[in-house]
């Protein structure tokens, strides 16, 4: 029987697991990270849009701060969020961006002076402040009032993940690649580690640790089409569930996105519609105005997704070998605009569909995008197991919280009965 001992066992080697490992290692504890794939290939790499932090460096972010970020997030959650945790988050986000900047992430920076941007299909001239020159830039994203999303050109996820992974290597944190935790080891309410399968040799090894953390990402692959990587199957969350003790929260909260390409599910940037793209059905008809006369293609993501599915259910989908879909038409935006402002869209169409979106329509269909639910924890990330059969078990004085599935939960031993 093979046993590997460590202080902190982390299941998942994406941004969350890596940062958690760095934190624990710096405090003098041994860490082992388990990952299905080399960490630099984790799904975190797909986070292209950017990361929200209220730095308020750009002119369209002027006046932004933690309070505004807090309000946007709580509203966005439709009041499902734990507000204490949101406060913790919005206060720490700027620190997170700045820490990553010091560690080497090449965040795009503000250039003083005038520049032209497109807002709602119109050209607008923005003037960036002198005192902001060289600070980290923010872009418009997710419809927030203030521009708050920090980014690295068109590859934020990649840049962040590589810097984080390299820092973990600098800390000499071992990552056991191509290993999979298939069950947690637990007894009397305490988690002791995991039974881990080596995907290359098939060997089963017991990893025993003082604390075990689950940072395995979401579960997009529960669905037929998802923007998520193939490894986003939710297995770490599932093995926590299978202890019979830990719980998962709000699993029914699943976010869909209206325009991933079909059938691959690769995300097409929101800007394609924002800049004036249209949705068409099997007859070539632009159908959104019939459903949403006011906002048409620019109604909220959920609404656009719904209308598209409704329309397909009516028999207006385009049939193909892989199922039904609709069309996104951006030909009207013109070649120059597409190749300069929608470069990602152009490349995705070129590589994955072999089509030229300046001339052809793009097959799209709404797909699963984000799993809001995950293992239930308190504000420290601990799983308060047995909280239902014995409510008094919740540690005194803590506010219970839910950290979304892209983050972390970790198994804590409960005080014995």
């Amino acid at each position: 029987m093979k046993i590997i001992y460590t202080d902190v066992l982390i299941i998942g080697g994406g941004l969350a697991g890596l940062r958690l490992g760095i934190g624990a290692k710096r405090r003098g504890h041994d860490v082992i990270i388990l990952s299905l794939v080399p960490p630099k290939r984790s799904h975190s790499v797909a986070a292209q849009g950017g990361m929200q932090a209220s730095l308020a460096n750009v002119i369209k972010g002027e006046g932004d701060n933690e309070d505004v970020h807090f309000q946007d997030t709580v509203r966005g959650s439709d009041w499902g969020a734990d507000q204490h945790v949101v406060r913790m988050f919005v206060n720490t986000a700027p620190k997170a961006v700045r820490e990553l900047a010091a560690w080497g992430v090449p965040w795009s920076r503000v250039r003083r002076g005038d520049r032209d941007v497109i807002i709602n299909g119109q050209k607008v001239t923005l003037t960036e402040r002198n005192e902001a020159h060289g600070l980290i830039a923010q872009r418009d994203f997710g419809g927030t009032k203030k521009w708050r999303t920090c980014y690295v050109s068109d590859g934020t996820g990649h840049a962040m993940l590589f810097t984080m992974s390299d820092q973990a290597i600098a800390q000499e944190i071992p990552v056991h690649e191509r290993t999979e935790a298939i069950a947690l080891i637990h007894d009397s309410g305490r988690c002791y580690g995991a039974v881990v399968r080596n995907l290359i040799t098939g060997e089963l090894v017991a990893y025993v640790a003082k604390a075990t953390a689950i940072a395995g990402g979401g579960a997009g692959r529960l669905y037929h089409v998802t923007t998520n990587a193939v490894i986003s199957e939710g297995i770490p969350t599932a093995i926590a569930l299978e202890t019979g003790i830990a719980a998962v929260g709000n699993m029914e909260a699943v976010q869909f996105h209206p325009t991933p390409i079909f059938p691959a599910g690769i995300l097409l940037t929101e800007g394609a519609r924002g800049d004036g793209g249209l949705l068409r059905d099997v007859d070539g008809k632009r159908f959104m105005p019939d459903y949403e006369p006011e906002k048409k293609e620019l109604a909220s993501r959920d609404v656009v997704s719904r209308r598209m599915e409704e329309h397909i259910a009516k028999g207006k989908g385009v049939k193909s070998r892989f199922g039904e879909h609709l069309w996104l038409d951006i030909t009207l935006l013109g070649e120059h605009h597409i190749k300069h402002n929608l470069r990602e869209v152009y490349e995705i169409c070129q590589y994955f569909l072999g089509i030229d979106p300046t001339k052809d329509w793009v097959p799209v269909r709404p797909a699963q995008h984000y799993t809001m639910g995950g293992v239930r924890t308190n504000y420290t990330g601990e799983s308060p197991a047995k909280a239902y059969s014995q409510p008094a078990r919740r540690p005194a004085g803590t506010c219970t919280a839910l950290i979304a599935s892209a983050g972390i939960r970790w198994q804590k031993p409960l005080s014995p009965a």
């Binding site: 794939v37 080399p38 630099k40 290939r41 984790s42 799904h43 790499v45 797909a46 700027p94 620190k95 700045r98 820490e99 900047a101 010091a102 560690w103 080497g104 090449p106 965040w107 795009s108 920076r109 503000v110 250039r111 020159h133 060289g134 600070l135 980290i136 830039a137 690295v152 050109s153 590859g155 996820g157 990649h158 840049a159 810097t163 390299d166 820092q167 290597i169 600098a170 690649e177 191509r178 290359i200 990587a229 193939v230 059938p263 691959a264 690769i266 070539g284 193909s320 070998r321 892989f322 030909t331 995705i348 590589y351 994955f352 569909l353 072999g354 089509i355 052809d360 329509w361 097959p363």
Partner: protein
């Protein structure tokens, strides 16, 4: 203007298979599959595994050309399979695993192990030299152009295609390859990394480093991210030679 239907072909995909089980030997196995509009090798290989042969090994993760998992030899050329469209290939397609890397099985190789080793060896992280960071204070400034230049080199996804296409690494097992040299170029450009050229010379100023490159530049030809490997390697060689002559 609508997409036109392409003529549907019957594809013959031949895969170099070997699962290293005792008694087995490498062999070519051919699968037949009906082509579909927009079919990529990601779609094709998954369909083959699901419907015809559950024992076929391959690695896809993001399937969107950004994670670097699916590097393989496609008709003799290393590239990313997930974004290779079958319509751009002949109906007879030959697939093999990337050479140089340790084989796991069939089309799956252990690039992760090789890359981690390279990262440790070349210390591919920003060396802060103990500088403390105050996270409540605004970030250190950087010129926008410099940030863009660093990103340009940071874009490497460690897919291993450059190594598979490299002549030198076939002769020198410990050659760091274009991926390693590009990393050094990236960190060298970054003012947050406190290392200087003498430090970098310690890492790559030898025949398994920048002086081993024979300038065949297969790396530049096959890089899926179109990194400027030719210019970066040449530039780095000059800089390192200057250190060597001191």
């Amino acid at each position: 203007m609508k997409n036109e239907n392409h003529t549907l072909r019957q594809l013959k995909i031949s895969v170099l298979r070997f699962n290293q089980e005792p008694g087995s030997a490498p062999r070519m196995q051919t699968y037949e599959i009906e082509e579909a509009d927009g079919m990529t090798l990601f779609i094709a290989l998954n369909e083959i595994r699901e419907k015809q042969d559950p024992s076929l090994h391959f690695d896809f993760v993001c399937r969107a050309g950004i994670c670097g998992s699916c590097g393989m030899m496609i008709n003799g050329r290393p590239t990313l399979a997930c974004r290779t469209l079958t319509k751009d290939l002949d109906s007879e397609i030959s697939l093999a695993p990337l050479p140089v890397f340790e084989l796991i099985a069939d089309l799956s190789v252990n690039t992760g192990k090789w890359m981690r080793h390279m990262s440790e060896r070349l210390e591919t992280w920003v060396h802060l030299n103990g500088d403390k960071i105050d996270l409540t204070k605004p970030e250190e400034r950087m010129e926008p152009e410099l940030a863009e230049k660093i990103y340009e080199l940071d874009r490497c996804i460690e897919c291993g295609c450059c190594i598979a296409g490299c002549g030198t690494v076939r002769m020198r097992e410990d050659f760091v390859g274009a991926v390693g040299l590009n990393k050094i170029a990236r960190f060298r450009l970054d003012p947050r990394d406190k290392r200087n050229d003498d430090d970098f010379y310690e890492l790559i100023g030898e025949d398994n480093g920048v002086f081993g490159c024979m300038s065949l530049l297969g790396c530049h030809d096959v890089c899926p991210k179109k990194l400027p490997l030719a210019t970066q390697i040449a530039f780095l060689r000059r800089k390192m030679a200057a250190v060597g002559w001191k």
